[in-house]
Amino acid sequence: MSDSHPTIDFDKFKPTRSYIAARKRKDWTMRVFIIAAFVIALIPLVSVLWTTISSGVARLNLNFLSYNMSGVVGGNATPSGGYGGIVHAIIGTLLVTLGSMIISIPLGLMCAVYLVEYSHNGGLARAIGLLVDVMSGIPSIVAGLFAYALFNTLVGPGTVNGFVGSVALSLLMIPTVVKTSEEMLKIVPNDLREAAYALGVTKQRTITKIVLRTALPGIVSGVILAIARVIGETAPLLIAAGFISTTNLNLFSGRMTTLPVYVYQEYSQGLATCSATALQATPPCLPQIRMERAWAAALVLIIIVLLLNLIGRLVAKLFAVKTEN
C-alpha cells in the first residue's frame, strides 16, 4: 500500500516570493488603470453638466420660465421685460411624454406579463422577444417618420400634433419598458407565486397583487429609464409634433414645441441681428440671446430628468421590499 503512494513535496506548489511581488505589482497597475478609466469616463459627464449649468444659468429666471416665444423679434426684449421663454416647450415636453407613457407603460407591462407569466417560452413569445429586440434598435427618426406617416394615412395629410409625437416616442419607449419589466418579473422568486397559489389565490390576483407588487420598484426604475431616454428626443418630434412659438395645451390638435426641439431651433438660428441703436437701448438687443435661451432650455431639460429620477427613486424606496424596519 505505502509504496504505491507517491510522496509529494507540497513546498514546490507554494507561490514563490517573486510571484507574490509580481501579483502585487499587477494589482497596483490594474488599480491605477481602473481609476484612470473611471476618471476618463467622468470627464465628459462633468464637462457637459458644467457647460450646461454655466451657460444656462444666465438666462434661467422666472420670466424665462413663465413666457412663451410669441412676440419675440430677433434679439429684442419683449414688453414683459424678458427675452421670450420656454413655458410652451415645458408644457409640450410634459404632455408629449405623458402621452407616450400612457401608451407604452400599459402595453409594455402587459407584454412583459404575457412573456413571463403566460407564454411558457412558446413560439409567439420568441417572436415577440425578437421583435422587441429589433424594435429597440429602431433609429428614432424612423419612429418619427412612421408616426407621421401613420397619422397622415389614418387622419389626413399634414397631421402634426403632440399626440403624433407621443406615438413616435412610445415606439422608442415600449421595448425598454418590456425588456426591463420582463427582467424584473423574472427575478420574482417562483416560491412567491406558489405560496399564493397554495392559498387558493387566482392567477390574476397572484400576478397583480404579488408578482407585480414585488417587482414594482424595479419596474418603476425601468420606466424612468425609458422616459429619460425619450424625453430628450429631438428628431422624431421635429417631424411628428412640429414647432410653434405659442403655448398649446391640446395634445390632440395643433403643433407642439418640446424642449429638445426648442433647443435645436434656437441654436440653429445662430446670432440675432441687432441695429446699432437697438444695442444701446434699455433693455438692449442681445445678439447672442438664442444661444443663451438654448442653453437655459437644455438646463431645464436636465433638471426635469433629474426630478423624474428623484421621484422614481422615492417611489422605488417607498415600495421596496422591506427586510428590517
Binding site: 412567491l192 405560496a195 407588487r213 414585488t214 427586510t323 428590517e324 424596519n325
Partner: protein, 259 residues
C-alpha cells in the same frame, strides 16, 4: 375538522415522463401521515397532486383519482383554485410575501381572495392564526414589521399561520423543517402535533427520526432506478413501518442501508 383523502390509481406525469406510478393510499382524517423515501422517488410530487399544485408546472398532469371525503378533486367541474382553499400547503423554504408585514402575511390568503375584512375581524383572525402557529407571543408587539425580518423558524411558522388563516381542512407540508435549525424544527414539530386536532396533515420529510416522532402513518416511496417512475412501496402505521416493515426495501431504507 380534518377530512380524509383517498388516492386511487394515481399516475403523475411531467409531459411524457411518468414520474410516479399507480399510487393507492388512504390518508386518515386528523392524523399525521409522513411520506418518506430517497430523493427523486416522487414523494413531493405526490404531495403536490393532493392540492393540484402539480399542474402549475407546464405540461404536468395526472391520471387517476384523489378523493377528498369522496369528492374527486380531479373531476371536470372542480376548480383547482377552490381545491387549494380547502387544502393548504407549507413549503420547504419559508416564503412569506416580502412586501407584506407579519399581519398582512397572515391575512394574505383571505384578502387576496377578494374578501374585505372589518378591522376587528382581521385583528381576531391574525391573533387566532398566529396563536395556532405558536407565534403570537413572539410577534404580537410587532405585527406591522416585515415578515421576512423574522428568523427562519419564525418565518416558517408565519407561513403555517398564513396557511391556516384560510381555514383549510387539510395541511400539506413539503419538508417544512429542512431549512431550519434543530430548535426551530422542534417548535414546528410541536406545532404539527397540536395542529392535527383540527387538520389532516401530510408531511414529506427526509428525516426519518422526524417521521417517527411526528407521524401516525408512514408511506415509503421508492424508485427502481433513475429514470424509472417512483412508486409507493408500502404504507402502514408508523410504529409498524419502523419496527416491522413488510417489504425488504423499506427495512433497508429505514435501517440506513441505502438512500
Amino acid at each position: 375538522m380534518g377530512q380524509r383523502i383517498d388516492v386511487n390509481h394515481l399516475n403523475v406525469y411531467y409531459g411524457k415522463f411518468l414520474a410516479v406510478e399507480d399510487v393507492n393510499m388512504a390518508i386518515e382524517p386528523n392524523k399525521v401521515t409522513a411520506f418518506i423515501g430517497p430523493s427523486g422517488c416522487g414523494k413531493s410530487t405526490v404531495l403536490r397532486t393532493l392540492d393540484r399544485m402539480h399542474e402549475i408546472i407546464p405540461g404536468a398532469y395526472v391520471k387517476g383519482e384523489v378523493l377528498l371525503e369522496g369528492q374527486n378533486l380531479y373531476a371536470q367541474d372542480i376548480d383547482p383554485v377552490s381545491v387549494r382553499r380547502d387544502i393548504g400547503m407549507v413549503f420547504q423554504r419559508p416564503n412569506p410575501f416580502p412586501t407584506m408585514s407579519i399581519r398582512d402575511n397572515v391575512l394574505a390568503g383571505v384578502r387576496l381572495n377578494n374578501r374585505r375584512l372589518k378591522q376587528s375581524d382581521a385583528d381576531d383572525l391574525v391573533e387566532w392564526a398566529l396563536r395556532g402557529a405558536n407565534l403570537w407571543e413572539e410577534v404580537k408587539d410587532r405585527l406591522g414589521n416585515p415578515g421576512i425580518g423574522l428568523s427562519g423558524g419564525q418565518q416558517q411558522r408565519l407561513c403555517i399561520a398564513r396557511a391556516v388563516a384560510v381555514h383549510p381542512q387539510v395541511l400539506l407540508m413539503d419538508e417544512p423543517c429542512s431549512a431550519l435549525d434543530p430548535i426551530s424544527t422542534l417548535a414546528v414539530e410541536d406545532l404539527i402535533n397540536e395542529l392535527k386536532k383540527d387538520y389532516t396533515i401530510v408531511i414529506v420529510t427526509h428525516n426519518m427520526q422526524q417521521a417517527a416522532r411526528v407521524s401516525d402513518y408512514t408511506a415509503f416511496f421508492n424508485l427502481r432506478a433513475v429514470g424509472e417512475p417512483g412508486h409507493l412501496v408500502e404504507m402502514n402505521d408508523t410504529t409498524t413501518i419502523f419496527s416491522n416493515p413488510v417489504e425488504k426495501d423499506t427495512e433497508r431504507y429505514i435501517s440506513g442501508r441505502f438512500g
